[in-house]
């Protein structure tokens, strides 16, 4: 029985791109307990709905997080559209799917890079981020923004993608797929990565369910939970099945994200093939009155936007339940009983997005 000591981890730590603080209670090298504390990047942006017009607030909703940006704006717009009973044009719904899946691709590649970096595999980090630039280029060419797109608006989307451009995007993704497969092979088969991730930070299926895990954390523990299965937007017309891996360790969560890269490529391909012609937006008149829970699937899991309006141009309440918030209880359980040296890999394995979680 060793002596008990407490090691502070964060808020500023080499492995953390964003600040979160964990108090790690150790007994020798073994983590007995991890106590998270947050609040380093809380801005309080939900309260801005009282000061901003509900249409302009889309830009604030998008800036909840710069990685999941587009999907936040989709969730918010979808909520307002449901309250106001607006049906967006089919083309807009398909364009939203395309940009959402591009966001997922860039976010997963970003995470794969950071995960490799946390294990000290710098070459793989650079490879993932090099491939990610392809996604960002397509985003920039179609919306004007690399990480904050601003292309979603209440009632549709702000800009169209020409059919020629869609064809060239499709060709570009087909061309980059072999490179993605090669990188995926390293993540899934490399012996070093296997040793660092297999059996590390296990979250059982029951625990994942009880602790309310979402997204790749839940799917890596064998739970088929994906908000895209609800068929929001144009997803109901697309052939989609979630990636579910049993195991519940860091390897399983990594595998979910690697395989989702190819699901996203497939969804973009389907959306481009089925893209209907027509308008990209409908006029929005009046103000929202009522409430709605809008659910969408972000790269990190299911996000819920609660919106309540009272018929004025300012909403009464906007509340976001982000996937990272839902995954932190799971993280605390994964850390209990692990070795100190594995903490960075386990923390990263839930893909923490503190920008979202604290808003």
């Amino acid at each position: 029985m060793g002596r008990e000591i407490v090691i502070p981890f964060g808020p500023q730590h080499p492995v953390l791109p964003e600040p979160i603080h964990l108090d790690l209670v150790l007994e020798d090298e073994m983590v007995k307990e991890a106590i998270p504390s947050i609040g380093y990047i809380h801005r309080g942006l939900e309260k801005l709905v009282e000061k901003r017009d509900f249409k302009n607030y889309v830009y604030i909703a998008e800036r909840i997080c710069g990685i999941c940006s587009f999907i936040h704006s989709v969730s918010y717009c979808q909520g307002i559209e449901n309250i106001m009973e607006i049906t967006i044009p089919d083309r807009a719904a398909y364009l939203r799917v395309i940009w959402s899946e591009y966001s997922r691709l860039h976010s997963h590649l970003l995470w794969l890079g950071l995960f490799a970096d946390a294990m000290g595999f710098e070459n793989l980090f650079m490879t993932a981020w090099r491939l990610r630039e392809h996604m960002l280029n397509d985003m920039e060419e179609t919306t004007g923004g690399r990480v904050i797109q601003g292309s979603c608006k209440v009632g549709g989307v702000r800009c169209d993608i020409s059919n020629d451009k869609l064809a060239s995007m499709s060709a570009g993704l087909t061309a980059i797929e072999p490179e993605l497969s090669e990188m995926a092979g390293v993540f899934l088969e490399d012996e070093t990565i296997d040793m660092r991730t297999r059996g590390v930070g296990v979250l059982s299926k029951d625990s994942a369910w009880d602790l309310g895990a979402v997204g790749p954390v839940a799917r890596g523990s064998g739970i088929a939970l994906d908000a895209r299965m609800t068929g929001y937007g144009a997803y109901e017309h697309l052939d989609f099945s979630p990636v579910v891996i049993s195991g519940g360790d860091c390897y399983a969560r990594c595998r979910v994200r690697v395989e989702e890269l190819f699901t996203s490529l497939d969804l973009i391909g389907q959306a481009i093939t089925m893209m209907p012609d027509g308008d990209i937006e409908v006029p929005v008149r009046g103000n929202p009155s009522g409430e709605f829970f809008s659910r969408t699937e972000q790269p990190r899991g299911e996000v819920v936007h609660y919106i309540r309006g009272n018929g004025t141009k300012n909403l009464l309440r906007h509340r976001v339940r982000t996937p990272t918030t839902a995954n932190i209880p799971g993280l605390v359980q994964m850390l209990a009983g692990c070795e100190l040296a594995n903490v960075p890999v386990i923390v990263l394995s839930i893909d923490p997005c503190i920008g979202c979680a604290e808003r």
């Binding site: 730590h13 809380h42 309080g44 970003l110 630039e133 904050i148």
Partner: protein, 147 residues
């Protein structure tokens, strides 16, 4: 760039940013933009750092952390505020928890515009910071105290 004798290392901290600028700062370090060609690498240790790259506005809880990190970086040091939030609080300046830009807590040498700041502008900002760093180093050699 011929006057640059040392390889300046950067330390990046997110004061309360949305991540947009953070991932663009990281993108600068990866193959397409590659600031390592200037000898720049991202370190996690304030004692190793010369350039403090900071994103996002300052909030009640992060101001202490920012001040702490700044004090730990040895002189001469340069502060680069990346993005409009770091300059003024940006779109979040009316939020109840935001005090304002980085200059409310520590002195800033270079402001990089953009929401999110583009990697090209961040590189411009860091290159501007390099010459300020060199001036400060010369001033220190003469026995003056740089800011």
């Amino acid at each position: 760039m011929s006057y640059l004798k040392k390889s300046p290392w950067i330390l990046h901290y997110d004061a309360s940013s949305c991540n947009g600028c953070d991932i663009e700062v990281l993108a600068c370090l990866t193959p397409l933009y590659d600031v390592e060609r200037f000898g720049i690498i991202n370190t996690g240790n304030p004692k190793h750092a010369d350039i403090f790259v900071i994103t996002g506005g300052i909030n009640e809880q992060s101001s202490v952390v920012v001040k702490n990190i700044y004090d730990q970086i040895p002189s001469p040091k340069v502060v680069v505020a990346v993005g409009i939030c770091a300059a003024t609080g940006g779109v979040f300046r009316e939020c109840y928890n935001i005090k304002g830009g980085v200059n409310t807590t520590i002195p800033v040498d270079v402001y990089v515009p953009g929401c999110a700041a583009r990697p090209e502008s961040i590189i411009d900002g860091i290159v501007a910071a390099l010459s300020i760093l060199e001036e400060k180093r010369k001033a220190m050699k003469k026995g003056e105290t740089p800011l």
